[in-house]
Point group: C2
Chain length 537, copies 2
């Protein structure tokens, strides 16, 4: 007899398996359209794996998905990697040009396309490789009639038996997607089964800490598009944490509020803009009882303190998360470390809405961008990181990869300091940095300060070129009610007297706008603002 | 420029690092003797690594430890594997013969020996390889005066600078120890950094679930000897969970109760016997306020329901854990899955003291021992498992390894069924095992020893149930000529003095019979003997 030892690989089937062993009846809910249990969903994923293989999907082939946050998308999060293929989550906010560019760059062999995006792909028919197969679907399971459709998604599931053994290894590529940053061509980042696995374990553990205190009794509705950095990893976390999962489809804020109430949602993650849109929705006052038991994590861009305080007043438990596309994404979260745990409520609150502390297994350093040497606590430097879930490279881009990974640490490009409590505070995304007279103006802190003015709804500060100082700040304001530039300047001078900001940080100009321009991922588009500011000089 | 991507290995330094990043001030307390913070302890471990390397320790070499649950032992849990060596946790409950046997089998090159065990090793001087180095220590840091001492443990730490980079990989062997299991010769099992790491992640996550509800505010005092299956993994879990850790040294139950009160202990794990000893201690009535906030996990042998109810009446939150030496150890725990969560308190209680549900990443099946086919819920079969933390083999024992790992599943030898709620219930431990006070008595070795008596023709030892110890051995004797129980007992005491057996192995009772009952395959029928012994109590 020989040693038939089983080498346990950290692959996504093990996450599914863990979920159904302990929480077989937990639900996955797609709007008011379909409900699954962990068990039935897992079975359905395993049928999809069989279906994809029958269709001809081979190991390592890329499958792009064009969809909102649906049950179909959720299937592909597990089913595509478990078929041995690679899930390409295509950014719906890109113009068609860029969508096609990323499809070609990733060399997608298959596309999964929701019916409403079929016309888009029909339009691009001539620039997409002829061998590509398109899998279409509609919510009501009616087959999509289109000359480009090669298969129906539901049929792949419903006409097949579940696969029980998966030909995958933990270091197999499982996902790929593109990140634009603020400027330039999108860069591809990719992740293995193992990376998604370890990320999910760590986020699940972090979620149990105060002030999240998440348990299997909680209900997730993640308001981050599924095409955006694995929906921050929560489709994997949920099976380890044993939480009910609610998918809102395309974002309709009135409907989302209704769905939150109906399904008892207690936890969400999102960018600040989405929180702003929900809290200012005309129906919001009807849902104060929902907000009272709502815990949220804000990430993707800095959380303005004014918005955080507004949420807190409604009884929402507000925390932050920090990470990048390159980092799977989560690096730090606003939970309490053993120092924060002992502080008073007000101080705790300021830390839970800072950039947070590293989650388990993440090593963070703040270093001098030039010398690479560690900065002391309180000193500003670049955040560099190591963890089990960072992208190995920018796909087919050795030059940018070498920049990203210099010295064996992933360079975030974000400037921050670590405070006396061990919390990170980002003062500026590298590229959005404003440097005046050789000194950085921490634009996020400055935005926070302006947001405290009662008549300010939203604010964004950018730097414009200045003969004398190199750069000077200009503020864009969305006002709640009429307010003058002079009122704001007086308010800022008051904050200066309080020691909250430096006098030389006060923007040279306040420009009033109706809305702020957004990037494809709903972040404020500072590139556009900079151009507007330059023209406005 | 090239891609300087950092491959993050799941090694024990990352666990230390995670602890000190988020919980730098959490304490490690050794009795009333010494206190560390996570930071100072981590620094101390890193000095030990330097010290061990200077002493000449090479990659893969084994270092045995003879100690109670001390701060020194805790240092070796991290320091030995991080030096590239392998920690051999030597079973103090073994007779000297077996201790030496395991040292020789593991090929230990170094021993770490607490002063009180130095005489034991001096006694064994002639049978221990001459090249072996012995590192000694005493609690008060005075150097141990002995001809066998080659180095002082504290000096290794205090005269060296901390190592910051560790030459270890996740698949390196990090620990080894011996399990006697049911019978005969001890078998070696070993674990890698990665296995300890994944085990700790999963146990940490499980601990946050109801009814444990453990958080960084909890204080662990694990009452499982550190020579026993990694103290169930908690020395690693604690740095991920961010909990204070209290080490009781040699078990003195009055002192333990005092220490629990003083340090605010809220969580412990132990075998049933230890719980029994604590609850029946004369001082116990003074500590009802301590018991009220105490959460415990009982494992190692079956938890008698009477004892569980007694603990519950005192306000203790009682749960169970299940695992083996071969499995790192934890496989399942008595937490609530989504079915149990909805049940009433009484039913929940019965499930939390059952064999529990698998913890994350553990795959458990109950199969027919002959055919290997899955049993239906409610049907009894053998528990077989897969997880990321199972031993790859019995060290240098391919035959037993092949039995352990047949068909790609680790065979526990335990018979159980899965109930309608998804909980495991063990109905019979590996049939012939005798487990007394949480420790196996190797029945074959004991039978061998008894058979040495010139008047003994045949002998068979079985376990009978015991209120205090769980089980106690009873011997059935077929005599060659007249012999008394007292003669046999005196003979056994002689063997104890020779280091051949432990005093507590000596059977409580010797029953004389004309013949031993046989099974259909002519093996001694221990089932019948057990019934006879129970009637004879």
């Amino acid at each position: 007899m020989s040693n038939e030892y089983y080498e346990y690989e950290l692959t996504l089937d093990k996450i599914l398996d863990t979920g159904i062993r302990t929480f077989p009846d937990k639900e996955i809910v797609y709007r008011d359209i379909r409900r699954y249990t962990f068990s039935s969903f897992s079975n359905s994923v395993k049928r999809l794996v069989t279906g994809l293989k029958k269709l001809g999907v081979k190991k390592g082939e890329r499958i792009g998905v064009l969809d909102w946050d649906t049950d179909v998308y959720f299937h592909t999060y597990y089913g595509v990697p478990l078929s041995g293929a690679v899930l390409h989550t295509i950014n719906l906010r890109y113009p068609l040009d860029l969508i096609v560019k990323t499809i070609l760059h990733a060399e997608d062999k298959y596309l999964v396309v929701r019916d409403e995006f079929v016309p888009l792909i029909e339009k691009a028919k001539n620039i997409i490789p002829p061998g590509m197969k398109v899998i279409t679907y509609s919510d009501n399971k009616e087959k999509v009639k289109s000359p480009i459709s090669n298969a129906d998604f539901w049929e792949l599931i419903e006409s097949n038996e579940p696969t029980e053994e998966f030909d995958v290894k933990e270091n197999d590529m499982s996902t790929i997607f593109y990140t634009s940053g603020t400027t330039g061509e999108p860069k591809g980042v990719w992740f293995t089964h193992r990376k998604l696995f370890m990320h999910a374990m760590s986020v699940a553990l972090t979620g149990t800490r105060s002030p999240f205190n998440l348990s299997p009794e909680d209900v997730y509705m993640i308001l981050v598009p599924m095409f955006h950095v694995h929906q921050w990893g929560f489709p994997f976390v949920t099976f380890l944490a044993g939480t009910k999962y609610v998918l809102p489809g395309r974002y309709d804020y009135g409907f989302i509020l209704k769905l939150m109430e109906k399904e008892g949602v207690t936890y969400s993650a999102m960018v600040p803009t989405i929180l702003h849109l929900l809290l200012t929705h005309p129906d919001a006052p009807k849902y104060t009882h929902v907000f009272k038991k709502w815990k949220i994590t804000i990430g993707g861009s800095a959380l303005p303190e004014g918005l955080a305080r507004k949420a807190r007043e409604l009884g929402i438990t507000v925390t932050t998360g920090y990470g990048l596309s390159e980092t799977c994404p989560v690096l730090s979260m606003g939970y309490y470390n053993n120092v924060a745990q002992k502080l008073d409520a007000e101080k705790k609150f300021s830390l839970q809405i800072s950039t947070g502390v590293p989650i388990p297994l993440v090593q963070i350093r703040v270093v001098d961008p030039d010398t690479g040497k560690d900065k002391k606590p309180g000193e500003i430097g670049e955040i560099v990181v190591r963890s089990p879930w960072l992208t190995k490279e920018y796909y087919k881009n050795p030059e940018k990869t070498a920049q990203l990974w210099r010295g064996g640490w992933l360079h975030t490009g974000d400037l921050a300091y670590i405070d006396e409590y061990g919390y990170l505070h980002i003062v500026d995304r590298d590229k959005d940095a404003i440097k005046s007279g050789g000194e950085f103006i921490p634009s996020l802190l400055l935005e926070d300060a302006i947001s405290l003015h009662p008549k300010v709804a939203q604010v964004a500060v950018v730097g414009v070129k200045d003969q004398k100082w190199g750069e000077r700040p200009v503020a864009f304001i969305v006002a709640k009610e009429k307010v003058t530039e002079d009122e704001l300047r007086q308010f800022m001078l008051g904050l200066t007297d309080q020691g909250r900001i430096q006098k030389w940080w006060i923007p040279d100009k306040f420009i009033f706008v109706d809305t702020l321009p957004l990037t494809s991922t709903n972040k404020i588009d500072k590139k556009v603002l900079r151009e507007m500011a330059e023209k406005n000089k």
